[in-house]
């Protein structure tokens, strides 16, 4: 069944740039070398399990997580470890990285085999499979999935929401995943439901993806526990808290987590990865990446091995145009711009966006004209103009009083500001200062 819930308050309409929406997912050729960062999740980095010079097989675990909030990493090609060294990470730091030279054999590690039927697996089995497969939230946050699926006993989960909103302009990887891997998506959803003992799931999809809605609804229409939620096309419809509000009409308390209101939200790619991990036993060694924007010759949705350099992936799409001026990992609203294309695709890379010189002109910041558009657009109902102003004047305590820390950094305020103020930038600064002071006080 398809439900059509009314949307959350605020948000913006940044426009439709889904130029790769009808491009089927194609397999990218495996590169000669892969660069696998030992940190592709929120939490402490992994320790390497292999040494320089060692031969590895495809899917072999090569980095083990330390502690609970961590996820292992796996070899994404078969071949030889040629180095373990610090390397550029798309999140702007240097991270210990395992570099493997591809032998072109794609020989699967012998331990990789299916885990049997979902019905036969216990909750602990499922959590273990998900953990060992190194699955993290593939929407970009990269929170380890097995941790998310282990809520404390006092936080019962009554609703699972699969996030197929994909509200970021340009990105289409989730869209294509839903259309082409609908069956695995539903399987993964059922696996999540079983893992947290919840009998109620929604698959939220924005109304601009009718093919995905139809395809998935076809599969779940006889299942009374899973419903498709057709969502209003609006940014940031795919933000976790906004999605929960739209689907369940509940608000996650300020500073809280989705489980505080009985919800777990999972990305579509994550669901498919879970299905593959259960059925085929394959760890998360590749993902769908949208390579798009006017700076790339041929926009595509590619199935890319984790650790492939962005430069290789772009080459696969016919290369970039001469006037490409900006490279972004992720979408245009929340993605990180990169100084080079020598960063590897990681588990959280949903897209690589290339923009040309005309699109990257930095506007000149004018004075605020108090139009209030940032306030109307803020999905959290903050006063972005006020917080940014306090930040400008280094009045961080006032910024905190105006709930700066509740900002989800969606960028609606900055997008919509006619005076072209860098509101989010100022708010981020305030958030950093407030957090730094809190850490100082705790010492």
């Amino acid at each position: 069944m398809v439900i059509e819930p009314s949307s959350f308050k605020g948000g913006i309409n940044p426009g439709h740039y889904k130029i790769s929406a009808q491009k089927p997912i194609t397999k990218a050729s495996a590169p000669e070398k892969v660069y696998i960062p030992l940190q592709q999740h929120i939490g402490a980095p992994c320790t390497p399990l292999v040494e320089k010079g060692e031969e590895v097989k495809l899917g072999q675990k090569i980095g083990e997580g330390q502690g609970f909030v961590s996820a292992p990493v796996h070899a994404t090609v078969s071949g030889k470890v040629i180095d373990i060294t610090d390397y550029t990470h798309p999140l702007g730091t240097e991270v210990p990285t395992i570099i493997i030279e591809n032998d072109g054999q794609d020989e699967l590690h012998p331990d990789i085999k299916g885990n049997g039927e979902l019905e036969d697996l216990s909750v602990d089995d499922l959590k273990n499979i998900i953990k060992e497969a190194g699955i993290v939230g593939m929407g970009g946050a990269t929170f380890p999935t097995h941790v998310k699926l282990s809520p404390p006993d006092d936080k019962p989960i009554d609703t699972i929401i699969i996030n197929g909103a994909e509200c970021e302009p340009f990105l289409t990887s989730d869209h294509r995943t839903m259309v082409e891997h609908a069956e695995e998506l539903v399987y993964g959803t059922k696996a999540i439901m079983k893992t947290v003992n919840c009998h109620n799931a929604y698959i939220g999809i924005e109304a601009n993806k009718p093919d995905a809605i139809e395809k998935i609804n076809e599969l779940v229409k006889d299942d009374k526990n899973i419903e498709v939620a057709k969502l209003e096309v609006k940014y940031p419809q795919g933000a976790e808290k906004q999605l929960i509000e739209t689907v369940t009409d509940r608000q996650v308390p300020s500073g809280g987590l989705p489980m505080d209101v009985g919800c777990i939200v999972s990305n579509t790619g994550t669901c498919v990865a879970i299905a593959k991990a259960i059925r085929e036993g394959v760890p998360l060694y590749e993902r769908v990446v949208t390579i798009t924007g006017s700076g790339v010759e041929e926009p595509q949705n590619l199935l890319v091995r984790i650790g492939t350099l962005a430069s290789e992936v772009i080459k696969e799409c016919g290369g970039m145009t001469d006037n490409t001026k900006k490279v972004i990992m992720g979408g245009p609203m929340m993605g990180m711009s990169q100084p080079t294309t020598h960063f590897p695709v990681i588990k959280g890379t949903s897209g690589i966006l290339l923009l040309t010189d005309k699109e990257v002109e930095l506007p000149e910041e004018g004075p605020c004209i108090s139009c209030g558009r940032c306030i109307d657009g803020c999905p959290i109902s903050l006063l972005p103009n006020r917080i940014a102003e306090y930040s400008d004047h280094e009045r961080y305590e006032d910024a905190e009083e105006y709930n700066a820390l509740d900002c989800i950094e969606c960028g609606c305020c900055t997008f919509i500001c006619p005076a072209k103020r860098f509101l989010l930038h100022h708010i981020r600064l305030a958030k950093n200062q407030i957090m730094a002071r809190r850490r100082e006080e705790q010492k």
């Binding site: 711009s337 506007p363 108090s370 306030i375």
Partner: protein, 304 residues
């Protein structure tokens, strides 16, 4: 290939809308009242609008940008809006220099003395009108009959006791300020701004609703009060000024209601002919308080 990319914080996408496009839309919205003014009061009205605009734009260009280059004069179009507003709220037989000085005062004292666009507390056009009203009251209370010329006979406005039907008031075929008499033309411009999202319905609805209610309770004809004088023009073009009205939604409603109540109060209980001007300027002064007390409840806020 050499990698030389721009690195900047997200978002990497911006709306096409800017202060310039908003102000240009306001200029467009002021065209219907201008046309109505020309139809009812003659070509001198158009001359006044142009004089008002030039005076405001040149003043701002010289003081702010120290240049008379065409681009500097146009600026962000906000001076053009102020100049138009000044001309449209002056009587249609005003001498050219009164409007020119009005615009000059609006830009200097009303806007630039406070720090320019975004920093001014009071509506610049109304500051211009108020200062000129206390300086040369005669010129601001000398009204001409419609379809007159520059030297037409003078007469009273409906608010001063002249007879007029609802239809005449709505169409605007009565004495009054250049752009304020035709409710029809003002509504066309106002609806354009509403459709473009540049003004919030809460301001004009609060303004006119409160005014109607107050005059009704006071035993006067609310429809007459809405249609006559500068109330509708003020509700759509003056009280909605982004810079000088609250930025929260509920604040906008409160602001509109405040303006409406004060306007009605001055008309019913006072003798001041400048009711609209004073009402909005007084409400402008309390905007910071309204903003502070109308903070929206944030997402996920737990009631304490």
């Amino acid at each position: 290939m050499e990698d030389k990319f721009v690195v900047s914080p997200s978002p990497h996408l911006r709306t096409q809308e800017s202060v310039n496009t908003i102000m240009r839309d306001v200029v467009i919205a002021l065209v219907p009242p201008t046309i109505a003014g020309v139809i009812f009061f003659g070509w001198w009205g158009l001359a006044l609008v142009i004089i008002g605009m030039i005076s405001a734009m040149v003043t701002e260009s010289i003081i702010l940008r120290k240049s008379l280059a065409p681009k500097a004069i146009v600026g962000d179009w906000s001076a053009a809006v102020t100049g138009m507003l000044v001309a449209l709220i002056f009587p249609p037989i005003s001498p050219w220099w009164v409007v020119a000085i009005g615009s000059f005062v609006a830009i200097t004292i009303g806007k630039l003395f406070f720090g320019g666009i975004g920093y001014n507390i009071f509506n610049p056009a109304l500051v211009g009108r108020m200062i000129l009203f206390v300086s040369w009251p005669v010129f601001l209370t000398t009204w001409s009959e419609p379809v007159g010329t520059h030297d037409a006979i003078t007469g009273a406005t409906p608010l001063d006791g002249a007879e007029a039907t609802y239809t005449e008031l709505f169409i605007g075929n009565v004495s009054g300020s250049l752009g304020e008499t035709s409710v029809l033309a003002i509504l066309i411009g106002g609806i354009y701004l509403l459709a473009k999202g540049h003004i919030d319905w809460r301001v004009p609805v609060g303004y006119l609703g409160a005014m109607a209610l107050y005059t009704l309770i006071a035993g006067e004809d609310p429809i007459f009060h809405l249609l006559s004088g500068g109330a509708v023009f003020a509700a759509f073009f003056m009280a909605t000024c982004m810079v000088t009205s609250p930025f929260t939604r509920s604040g906008k409603l409160i602001f509109g209601i405040g303006c409406g109540v004060l306007t009605a109060l001055f008309r019913v209980n006072g003798a001041a002919p400048e009711g609209v001007t004073y009402a909005i300027l007084i409400m402008n002064a309390v905007v910071p308080f309204i903003n502070n007390y109308t903070r929206p409840k944030i997402y996920g806020e737990v009631s304490k």
